[in-house]
């Protein structure tokens, strides 16, 4: 990994996502995630008022924040940056204090009960370094997920970013996610938190 300026990221085209959850399943298989835990998942909600109803589909994973709360709070620096700015967890160092889990504003982390250490999406860095795409990108049924170097203007992701209206989740937190969504604003416009809470 010689390139210094690599910045790995993902663009998810919400216009295309059909909510098949293939990404969820592939990720679980690729990374042997125990039952009940997810590095990648899809939220689906009916949106609108009858008869004008549509379906929001929001595929989720770690945002690979440029300013990552999980990284800041880790007391033993087990959470650190790897190639391409990917936020990764050193399983040898992690003490399993869960602080990062609570600090992540995106619920991207969990404590793996098998290893006793924190875990989350690492953008399939091992696959990427072997020249493959992240597993969830390869298997995305509707070709809605794109992976690449955000700093390389020739990359597919950089082009998508420049050509489309893309947003990140909870930009107000200043975490600077590296996972962008095409059409996010339009998809979740109008959803209100208090309402979510009531509907639990």
């Amino acid at each position: 990994m010689p390139e210094k300026n690599l910045h790995y990221g993902m663009v998810i085209d919400l216009r295309r996502c059909i909510g098949c959850h293939a990404c969820t399943v592939t990720c679980k298989m690729e990374n042997s995630i125990p039952e009940g835990f997810f590095r990648s998942w899809v939220v689906e909600a009916d949106k609108g008022t009858y008869p004008d109803v549509t379906r929001v589909k929001l595929p989720r994973l770690c945002n690979q924040c440029e300013s990552a709360p999980c990284e800041h709070v880790c007391p033993v620096k087990a959470t650190h940056r790897d190639a391409g700015g990917v936020v990764v967890i050193n399983g040898e160092k992690c003490i399993g204090c869960r602080y990062c889990i609570s600090a992540c504003p995106y619920d991207a982390r969990f404590l793996n009960p098998k290893t006793g250490t924190a875990e989350k999406c690492d953008l399939c860095l091992k696959r990427v370094q072997a020249g493959l795409m992240p597993a969830c990108v390869s298997s995305c049924v509707a070709h809605a997920r794109f992976f690449g170097d955000l700093n390389d203007p020739q990359s597919e992701v950089a082009k998508l970013l420049s050509e489309n209206s893309c947003q990140v989740l909870r930009p107000e937190l200043g975490t600077k996610p590296s996972v962008y969504y095409i059409g996010l604003d339009e998809a979740i416009a109008g959803a209100d938190y208090a309402n979510l809470f009531k509907r639990r």
């Binding site: 098949c20 959850h21 009858y50 549509t54 998809a187 416009a189």
Partner: protein
């Protein structure tokens, strides 16, 4: 779909289900996101899929279950009123005529139908013989054909150019709107009208407003969809499937093809095209004849399913007639249209009608769950009763519900351990044949070297011990006229693959590097002797790719390369002349809207008033289940159970709220308890339940194999099985699932239900 500009999904859900779900989902999502495709999903249930809040390419239109033909007739009403039908196409009375005008299919819209109740051929399409028109001499019968081909039909149209009746394939354009009289050779006047006019009359019996009221879709929406549908020339298509599993299912499926016929888009790029286009494999192929068995014993008797058989051909009917009695009603309904039906087989077996089933065998099928109403206790009891069914054999890889009632269970192989040759179900224009071959050693019992317990070996061994021809060492005839063995599954499947490899232009031999990359030498060593040295590298070419896939798309210009060349029936003579075996009344030959009714014609709403039974059921495909199957713990993890889903307005009327524990009660008996999900994406008056939940076996109960305990995970049983309480028909004696009468299609959508707080 890769070319359509507008698709009307009515009873098929893009991106959620369908065959194949992934291809459909991808094609719709990509094209819609790119702004190249608009689509509507007219469906009682909004299941997500390709419907998104972003952009306005796709829209969900809620509809009342079982009212699709009313919706379509509303569209047709507007289309006819506004001259939005393709008369060029419809007036082309044969394939060549249509072809010459740029179409790639044809209909009988311009064919004349005898409307004279006095005429012996009343309700039939007018034929040259009826008028005494000269007909070409019949072609020489093909001596090689297995069954004699029936003499061709010489339908008649009112030729536009001459204004005279003419045999359909001699005319280039028929008078589409002819309604009047023709005279036969004897000078007798016969009242006739075109198939199209019959359709029009049927449609115009009601107003658009009536249709709108029936299906619950506002008039403006119907018009908007009709306008969009007719604004793309032949680049528009209609798709439906699950909606046809209803007591009004025939009308629903007819509605779909009539709509696409009215715009002439069949077999066109962007229109409805044929599916399952494939290469010859298990067939009389270029290498082996896998269709015929030399000295094959003739099958005799009647299909037990009562489907595809007119009651009028049965001995029961003839006996009644002989005794001078009214032959109607038959004991159980007979379904004259279509082919056999596994669903109806279930009810035949449990009622012992038309005859007793001595041996019942299940394979790759779990009818107790998947046949609506088959999970009723009476069905289970009947199957367990040895007097009713002396022997049941289940051939299964899992402890399915049906397998669990079997006397013998033959363990079968799973997809990783087994062979298959399959076509693509649709949505790709070219030819596809997939080849599955075992990638692991089967975990079932090893019978001998290279032989494992599985369905195929079971059949082979039984056949051999019965001394049936077509099995054993001299079983399969090769193109070289030599006989080859059928002792193992690969003997059949590899030869089928060889057929496909040689179909049309043979595929190239596999390259050495590919061979090495996948180490096919080792992987296929055990099967090598099934093929000869010439076939082997070509068949491996398929194995390496998982099948044979046509390189080019299946179009020439704007036309499908593999069109359906037969007639698209705007008037279905077969339906019009067939009778409901309970009432003795004819079915309709044209598109109609029939309300849901029982076998004897009683309307559902008359027996079970809507104010007491306000809901119609919809049993839609689950996102994380493959029909009824759920062996995958990963998928189970994603969605452990299903819910009883209704619209918030209905919930408010019943004073129920999201998350309530409720009972779903069927009008003809049976109830199921579950959790209520109140959401906007369900149409009013609909109770939606995802299929595939509510198992009672499949590992939810423990069972012993060789003294070892298996299964016993009760979470597998979670959820509601709507089919378990699907309606039975109270107007038929015996247990009989509520069904469509002409084809025997089971009703899993529709019915009458109510919901109470548990």
């Amino acid at each position: 779909m890769e070319n359509a500009e507008f698709i009307l999904y009515i009873g098929a859900y893009p991106g959620h289900s369908g065959k194949p779900m992934q291809t459909i989902g991808r094609q719709v999502a990509l094209r819609a996101a790119a702004g190249k495709l608009k689509f509507v999903v007219v469906d009682p249930v909004m299941a997500g899929g390709a419907i998104t809040p972003i952009g306005n390419s796709g829209k969900w239109i809620p509809i009342k279950p079982t009212t699709d033909s009313a919706f379509a007739m509303g569209m047709i009403h507007w289309m006819v009123d506004n001259n939005r039908i393709n008369t060029d196409y419809l007036s082309s009375p044969n394939f060549a005529a249509a072809k010459s005008k740029g179409f790639n299919s044809w209909t009988n819209a311009a064919h004349l139908v005898i409307m004279d109740p006095e005429h012996p051929n009343y309700r039939k399409v007018l034929r040259a013989e009826d008028l005494g028109l000269p007909v070409p001499s019949a072609p020489e019968p093909d001596p090689k054909a297995a069954a004699p081909t029936p003499p061709p039909d010489y339908f008649v149209v009112m030729d536009k150019a001459t204004g005279k009746p003419m045999i359909y394939d001699q005319s280039n354009e028929g008078d589409l709107i002819f309604k009047g009289e023709v005279t036969d050779a004897g000078g007798k006047v016969i009242k006739v009208q075109t198939a199209f006019m019959i359709l029009k009359d049927s449609v115009f019996q009601k107003d658009l407003a009536d249709y709108s009221k029936i299906c619950g879709v506002p008039e403006e929406t119907i018009i908007e969809i009709a306008r969009e549908f007719t604004s793309h020339g032949t680049k528009a298509a209609v798709d439906g499937m699950g909606n046809t599993a209803a007591s009004t299912g025939f009308d629903a499926s007819m509605a779909q093809y009539v709509l696409s016929a009215l715009i002439g888009s069949m077999n066109k790029r962007g229109g409805n095209i044929t599916r399952r286009n494939s290469y010859k494999s298990i067939a009389a192929g270029p290498r082996y004849d896998l269709a015929g068995i030399p000295d094959k014993p003739k099958a005799a008797g009647l299909s037990i399913s009562r489907a595809g058989v007119p009651y009028e051909k049965t001995t029961e009917f003839k006996n009644h007639k002989a005794k001078g009695e009214n032959p109607y009603p038959s004991k159980l309904p007979w379904h004259p249209v279509g082919g056999g039906s596994d669903n109806q087989t279930v009810f035949s077996v449990v009622n012992g009608y038309p005859y007793q089933a001595k041996i019942l065998m299940f394979w790759m099928s779990n009818p107790l769950i998947t046949t609506p109403a088959a999970a009723h206790q009476e069905v289970l009891e009947a199957l367990k009763n040895v007097e009713r069914v002396p022997l049941i054999i289940g051939i299964d890889a899992f402890m399915g519900e049906s397998t669990a009632v079997a006397d013998y269970i033959i363990p079968d192989t799973t997809p990783y351990e087994s062979w298959a040759l399959a076509n693509s179900e649709g949505n790709c224009s070219g030819k596809v044949l997939t080849l599955r071959w075992p990638v692991v050693e089967p975990m079932t019992a090893k019978i001998s070297e290279n032989r494992y317990a599985c369905f195929e070996n079971f059949c082979i061994d039984i056949a051999k011990s019965l001394g049936l021809p077509g099995f054993g060492d001299n079983a399969i005839k090769g193109a070289d006229q030599k006989l080859y063995p059928l002792n193992n599954p690969e003997d059949l499947f590899l030869r089928g693959a060889a057929n496909a490899a040689y179909d049309g232009k043979p595929v190239p031999d596999i390259s050495a590097s590919e061979m090495k990359l996948q180490d096919l030498e080792t992987a296929t060593a055990a099967w090598k002797k099934a093929l000869n040295a010439e076939e082997y590298p070509k068949t491996l070419y398929l194995m390496a790719r998982g099948g044979r896939f046509e390189d080019a798309e299946g179009f020439e210009g704007d036309n499908s390369k593999y069109p359906y060349k037969g007639c698209t029936n705007i008037y279905v003579e077969k339906m019009a002349t067939a009778k409901n075996s309970i009432t003795g009344k004819n079915f309709s030959g044209t598109l109609v809207y029939n309300e849901e009714g029982f076998a004897d014609g009683t309307l559902l709403k008359d027996k079970y008033p809507v104010n007491e039974w306000p809901f119609k059921g919809v049993s839609y495909k689950a996102k994380f289940r493959s029909v009824s199957m759920l062996a995958n713990t990963l998928l189970r993890d994603l969605n452990k159970t299903n819910a009883i889903e209704i619209n918030p307005l209905d919930a408010a009327e019943l004073n129920l709220k999201n998350g309530d524990k409720v009972k779903l009660i069927a009008a003809t008996g049976g109830e199921a308890a579950g959790t209520l999900l109140v959401r906007q994406g369900v149409s009013r008056g609909t109770v939606a339940v995802a299929f595939g939940y509510g198992h009672w076996e499949y590992g939810s109960k423990a069972y012993q194999v060789d003294g070892k305990k298996n299964g016993g995970d009760s979470s597998i049983a979670s959820g509601v099985l709507l089919s378990g309480i699907s309606l039975t028909d109270p107007t038929v004696k015996g247990v009989f699932g509520f069904s469509e009468m002409s084809t025997g299609g089971p009703s899993r959508n529709g019915g009458a239900f109510r919901i109470e707080k548990a």
